[in-house]
Symmetry: C2
Subunit: 663 residues, 2 copies
C-alpha cells in the first residue's frame, strides 16, 4: 500500500482510473450530448415534458442506453454498458435519465425479463426505437414497499380466454407511474393472478392503455400525479382499470403460464419464491438509480469545489487579500469527506456493475446464491449512494450560499431531481432491512422478501453460519488485515489493514449482537411477535449500514491496488484514508463504547482527519476534475467565463488595494 505523499497528478490519468471498464460509453456520451440535451431552468411542467419526450426520441440509441437488450433486437447484450450509459444521461439531465430508465429499463426490461419470445418479437424493436412508449405499473397508492400485497386483480376467464384486469378500490390504483400521464401506449401491469378459483400471487401483463390517437383504452382511467418536487420532465400518472379485458397471450409468462383452460403452471412452485425471482431480474433499476445519484453528486461537488476556489470572503489577518472559501477548515470539513465518500462509492458501484454484468450477462441459468448476493449489494449501495447524494447536494448548495439557491447555478435542480431517489426503486429503510435480513440468514432463504420482518420470525431460530464474504481483491485485503498486530493501539490509524479490520470488526460485532438480541427476544417476547423484530430494528439497520461501509471500503482498496499510475495511486490512497477515517470518526461513539478505540486514539483520529484535509486541499480541484464532467454539462452560470467577469475580478483586486487606506 503506498504511503508516500501524493505527487502531482494528471487529472486525465485519474479520469482513466475512474472511467474504468466502460470508458468508451462514458466518452461517447461526453462527446455527443451537447447543449441541446441540457436542462432548461424555469420551464413549466408541460414544457419540460414536451422537451424530454422529444429528446428521448432523439437520443442516439448507439450511445448505449438500450444496450442491455439482445443484439438480435438492436441492443448489444451488454448490461453493464446500459447502466453506465444511464449514469451518463443522469449527469446531463435527470428527467431524461429517469424517462429513459422507465422506457428501456423498467418497461422494456420487464418485457424482456418476464416475457417470452412472442412478446420479444412483437415489441422489443419498437420499444428500443421509442416508437412504443410504455409504463411499469407496479406501485399502487396503498402499496409501494410491500408489492407482494398489491390489490389489483387479474382473473382468468376460460370462456373468453381473456383476463379481467380490475382495480377494486382507490387504494389499489397504480400511482407515480412514469410515462403514464402523457406518453405511454402500453403498460406492464402487476396484479394478483387468479385462475380456476385459485390465487397464484403477483404476475405481470402487457396491457394497451392508449389507442393510436392517444385516448385511453376502454375501461382505463388515466390521471396525472401533478407537479412534483423535481423531475418535471417525467409524466408520472395514475392508472385505474375497470374490468379491462386482457387477451391470454398478454400475460408475461416466463415464470408462470395459464393454459387456455385456465390451468396454471410455473417452473417455480412456491408463490413467494417465484415473486422474488421475478423481482430479481429487475435489480438493474436499483443499480442505475445508485449510479445516477452518484453522477449528480459528482456534478454538485464539481460546482461547489470550483466555486470555493474562486469565491473569496473575509481578509486574512495582516493582509487585504481575501481568502478563498476552500482555504477555510470548516469548508474543507464539508467538501472533502463528501468527496472522499463519493470516490469510495464510485468504486463500489463499478464493482457492482461488473458483478451484475457477470451474473446476469450470460445466457446460462442464474446462480441463485450470486443473484441474492447481488441484490443485497445493490440494495445497500443504492441506499448509501442516494442518501449520500441527498446530503451532499444539500451541503454543496449551502456551501455556495445564495448563489446555490438560484436555478441558473444548477444546484437546485440537482437537489430536487435526485430527492425522490431515497424512496423510489425501493425505500432506503426497507432496502437496508433487506440487506440485514440477507446477512442474518446467510442468503439462504426467503431473503428477497421486502417484508417488515413480520413474516421473518424464523430468523431468530436460525444459526448464523455465513462466512464473511469478501468482495474484491480478497487475498490482498486478507494480507493487509493479517498484518495488523494484535495490539491495535500501536498501529497508525492510517494503516490500511487496521482500517479494514475496524470496519470488519464493527460489522461482525453488530451482526452477532443483533442475532443474540433476536434470539433472546424470541424467548421472552413469544406473545408479542411483532416486538421481537421491531425492538431491534434500529440495531438491525445499523448492521446493514456497517456492512455496506465495509463493502465500499474493500472496493476502494481493491481499486487502489489495481491502479498502475503511482501518482494516482498515492492520491487515491490518501483519499481512501480520509474516507475510512471519516466513517470511523462519525461512528466513534460505537468504537469507544466497544473499547475498539481508546479516548486518546479517538481524539487522534480527528487530528489526523484535519491533517488529511490540509494535505488534500491542493488536490481538491484535481479530484473533481477526475470526474470529468464536461464544462457545458455543469450548466452553471457562476462558473462560466462571462464577459466582464475577468474585469470584475481585476477590479476586485484594485479595490482591495485601494481600501488599505481607510479614513
Amino acid at each position: 500500500m503506498p504511503s508516500q505523499a501524493p505527487g502531482p497528478v494528471d487529472p486525465a490519468r485519474l479520469r482513466e482510473v475512474l472511467d474504468g471498464s466502460w470508458a468508451e460509453v462514458r466518452k461517447a456520451h461526453r462527446d455527443h450530448l451537447d447543449t441541446r440535451f441540457l436542462p432548461v431552468y424555469g420551464e413549466t411542467g408541460d414544457q419540460a415534458r414536451e422537451r424530454i419526450t422529444r429528446l428521448l426520441t432523439q437520443l442516439p440509441v448507439e450511445l448505449g442506453v438500450a444496450s442491455a437488450f439482445p443484439t438480435e433486437y438492436g441492443g448489444r447484450s451488454d448490461v453493464g454498458g446500459s447502466i453506465v450509459a444511464s449514469e451518463m444521461l443522469a449527469q446531463v439531465d435527470m428527467s431524461l435519465m429517469v424517462k429513459a430508465g422507465v422506457q428501456w429499463g423498467l418497461f422494456g426490461g420487464a418485457v424482456m425479463a418476464l416475457g417470452t419470445r412472442r412478446h420479444h418479437d412483437a415489441h422489443l424493436r419498437d420499444i428500443i426505437a421509442a416508437r412504443t412508449f410504455g409504463c411499469f405499473a407496479m406501485t399502487e397508492t396503498g402499496h409501494g414497499s410491500d408489492v407482494q400485497q398489491l390489490r389489483t386483480t387479474c382473473t382468468y376467464d376460460p370462456q373468453t380466454q381473456t383476463f379481467d384486469l380490475h382495480t377494486p378500490h382507490e387504494a389499489a390504483r397504480k400511482d407515480y407511474i412514469g410515462n403514464a400521464a402523457r406518453d405511454g401506449r402500453m403498460a406492464v401491469v402487476f396484479a394478483q393472478l387468479t385462475t380456476r378459483g385459485r390465487r397464484h400471487g403477483v404476475h405481470a401483463w402487457l396491457v394497451p392503455i392508449r389507442d393510436a390517437q392517444g385516448n385511453p383504452m376502454p375501461g382505463v382511467t388515466i390521471g396525472d400525479a401533478g407537479p412534483k418536487a423535481g423531475l418535471l420532465g417525467v409524466d408520472n400518472g395514475r392508472l385505474t382499470f375497470d374490468h379491462v379485458r386482457v387477451p391470454r397471450d398478454m400475460l408475461l409468462d416466463r415464470y408462470g403460464q395459464v393454459a387456455p383452460d385456465g390451468t396454471y403452471s410455473s417452473p417455480i412452485e412456491n408463490d413467494s419464491r417465484r415473486f422474488f425471482t421475478m423481482l430479481g431480474t429487475l435489480v438493474r433499476g436499483r443499480v442505475s438509480v445508485g449510479g445516477a445519484a452518484s453522477a449528480a453528486t459528482k456534478s454538485a461537488l464539481t460546482i461547489a469545489v470550483r466555486y470555493g476556489d474562486i469565491r473569496r470572503q473575509f481578509s486574512a489577518p495582516d493582509t487585504d487579500r481575501e481568502v478563498p472559501l476552500n482555504d477555510y477548515l470548516a469548508h474543507q470539513r464539508k467538501l472533502l469527506p463528501a468527496l472522499a465518500t463519493t470516490y469510495a462509492l464510485h468504486f463500489a458501484q463499478a464493482e457492482l456493475v461488473a458483478a451484475l454484468s457477470a451474473v446476469q450477462g450470460g445466457d446460462g441459468p442464474l446462480d441463485e446464491h450470486r443473484q441474492r448476493e447481488l441484490e443485497s449489494r445493490a440494495a445497500g449501495l443504492k441506499a448509501a449512494q442516494t442518501w449520500h447524494a441527498t446530503r451532499t447536494i444539500q451541503m454543496c448548495r449551502e456551501a455556495c450560499g445564495g448563489a446555490g439557491y438560484l436555478a441558473e447555478n444548477r444546484l437546485p435542480s440537482l437537489k430536487a431531481d435526485t430527492d425522490v431517489f431515497t424512496t423510489f426503486e425501493g425505500d432506503n429503510t426497507v432496502l437496508l432491512q433487506l440487506v440485514a435480513k440477507g446477512l442474518l440468514t446467510g442468503y439462504r432463504d426467503g431473503f428477497g422478501s421486502l417484508d417488515g420482518w413480520g413474516r421473518a420470525s424464523f430468523v431468530a431460530e436460525q444459526v448464523r453460519e455465513m462466512v464473511l464474504e469478501r468482495t474484491a481483491a480478497r487475498s490482498v485485503i486478507q494480507q493487509l488485515v493479517s498484518a495488523v498486530p494484535g495490539r491495535d493501539d500501536e498501529v497508525a490509524v492510517t494503516d490500511r489493514g487496521w482500517q479494514l479490520k475496524a470496519f470488519e470488526d464493527r460489522e461482525n460485532h453488530l451482526l452477532d449482537g443483533a442475532i443474540r438480541r433476536l434470539r433472546n427476544g424470541a424467548t421472552v417476547k413469544k406473545d408479542r411477535p411483532f416486538d421481537i423484530f421491531n425492538d431491534v430494528q434500529d440495531h438491525v439497520l445499523t448492521v446493514a449500514t456497517a456492512h455496506t461501509d465495509r463493502v465500499t471500503l474493500e472496493a476502494f482498496v481493491a481499486a487502489i491496488e489495481s491502479t498502475a499510475d503511482p501518482a494516482v495511486q498515492a492520491l487515491l490512497s490518501r483519499v481512501c484514508d480520509l474516507y475510512a477515517l471519516s466513517v470511523i470518526e462519525a461512528n466513534k461513539g460505537w468504537f469507544l463504547e466497544h473499547a475498539r478505540l481508546t479516548p486518546a486514539r479517538s481524539k487522534a483520529i480527528t487530528a489526523v482527519v484535519n491533517d488529511l484535509l490540509k494535505e488534500l486541499r491542493p488536490e481538491m480541484r484535481t479530484l473533481v476534475d477526475g470526474f470529468a464532467v464536461p464544462d457545458t454539462w455543469l450548466h452553471c452560470a457562476m462558473l462560466r467565463e462571462e464577459p466582464g467577469r475577468q474585469e470584475a475580478m481585476a477590479a476586485e483586486d484594485g479595490a482591495a488595494a485601494a481600501q488599505a487606506v481607510p479614513a
Copy 2:
C-alpha cells in the same frame, strides 16, 4: 421536576402552553387567513409573483405583521407581536412571509431604525400600507457574509449637495434583493460613504429605483435573479447604479450625518462599532427567519405524523392487519427526536422573542451588553432552527415515501421554500462563528463582527472572564444542577439536573479547550496568523453549537417549570428527556472521549431513548396537534377526507380479510 408517566393530555391545553405570550396574534391569524392565502401548487414564477404581491396588499395589517412600527404611524410598538405574526404567515405561505419580511421587516425596519423623523414622517405610513414597495439592498454579488467590505460607493459632493451612488464593477452589484425584480419603488441601499476625501464605512440611503410608471430611474439598472429553488412568489433581483444622484437628506442618518458642506459626524466614533450598531438593530430579521423555519418544521411534522398513523405497510406476524408506519421503531427514531427538538427550539425561540421585546421594545437607550447577548442568541438559534428545518423537512418528505414527493402533499414546497434559510440573513456557519467569538471574548468587544477570524487575533491573548450566563429560570436550573451528586454515574440519565450538567459541562470544556488551543497557536504560529484560527475552526464551531444546545435545553426546562397543567407538564417533561438524551446520544463520542460517560452508561442511553420512543408513541398525534396548525393550512391532499377514501379504507380491510386464504 415531574417524573410520573404522562396522563391523558388535552391538545388544547398543550396549544395554550405553546402559544404563549402572543396567543392572540396566533389566534387572529388562524381565524382570518383562509384558503385564499394558501400556496398554489405548480404555478409559474410570474403567476406566483403576481399572486403574492396581491395577497400582500390584501393582508389585514391589524393581524400584526407591521406591529413593530410605532403607534403614531399605524403600528403597535410591539416588536414581539410582529415576529410572531411573521411566524404565522410562514405557516400559511413562505413566499408571503418572506415578501412581508422584506417589505416591513427589512425595508421598513431599516427606514425606522437607521432613519430619523423626517424619513419616518415621509415614508412609514406608505410602507406600512404597502403603497410603497421597497428593497433592502445590502448584499452584493461579491460580498454577502462580509458586508463590511461592500464595494458600492456613495460619495458626497458639496457643490450639488448630493451623493453619487455608484456600482464600480460587476461583483459590486446588489444581488438576491427581494422586491427588486418587480415591485420595488424604493430601496435602502448600503454603500461605502466618502465625504471630503475620507471614507467612513458602510451607511444606508433611501433611493428611488423606479418611477410611478414602474420604469427604472435614470442610472439604475434592474435585473432579475431568475428562477430559484423555491420562494417563487418573491421577486429577487439585481440592482446596479451608474453614478446615481441621491439628495443629501436621503442618507438614513441616525448613526452618521453629513452636513451641507460635507462635514461628517456621528454619535459613534469608531467605524466598525458604528457599523455593527447599525446592523444590530436589524436582528429582528434573523429572529423572524428562525421562527419561520420552525413554523415550517411544525407543518412538515404534522403531515408526516398524521400520515404515519394512517399509512400502513407490511402485516404484523400472525395477522393480516397491516402495521401503521408510526408503530415501527425506525419510523419513531426518525420522527420523535425531531419532534422533541422542535419543542425545545420552540421554547428557546419564545424566550428569545421575549428578550428581544424587552431589549428593543422600550424607548430608552439600548443596553449594549444585553443587545450583544441578544444578537448572539439570535444567531445561534437562527442557525439551529434553520438547519433543524432543513434536516427535518427532508426526513418528513422521505418518511412519506413517494407521496412526499408530490407537490399536492405540501412537503416539496416546505422544503424548497425554507432551503435558503440556512444561508440568508447570515450564513449559518458565519453565524456560529459570531456566537463562538462572543463566548470567547465574553461579549466585551468587536463581538458583532462577522469576520472570518482574520481581524480577531486579539482573542487568543485574552483571558476569559465571562461567567456562564444562564438563560432562564436561573435559580431552578441551579438547584437541579446542584442536586446532582458528585458521582454522576449513580444518577439516572433521565435526571434533569444531570442532563443540564452534561450540556453545561460540554460547553465549558469545549470553550476552555478552544481558548487553550488558540493561545498555544498564537505562540507557535506567529508567522502564520491565518492558521491560528483556521486550525481550530471546527472546534470553535462546536463550541457555538454546544452553547446553543445548552441555551435551548434551559429554555425547555424553564417552560416546563412554568407550566400549570400537570398532565401537560408531565408530557413535556418526557419530551424534554427525549430531546436532552437525543443530543447526548448524537454526541456520545465526545462524552466518551472525555470520560463523561462510561461505555455502559452510553449504551444505556440508547436503550432509554428507545424506551422513551415507545412511551411517546401514543402521544405523537397529541404532540403535533399541540402545534395547532389549522387543517386547511396543511394544504395536503393525502390528509384530506376525500369522497371514496373512507370506502377505500373499508375495502382495504375487506381485502385483508379475503387474502387470508391464498392458493
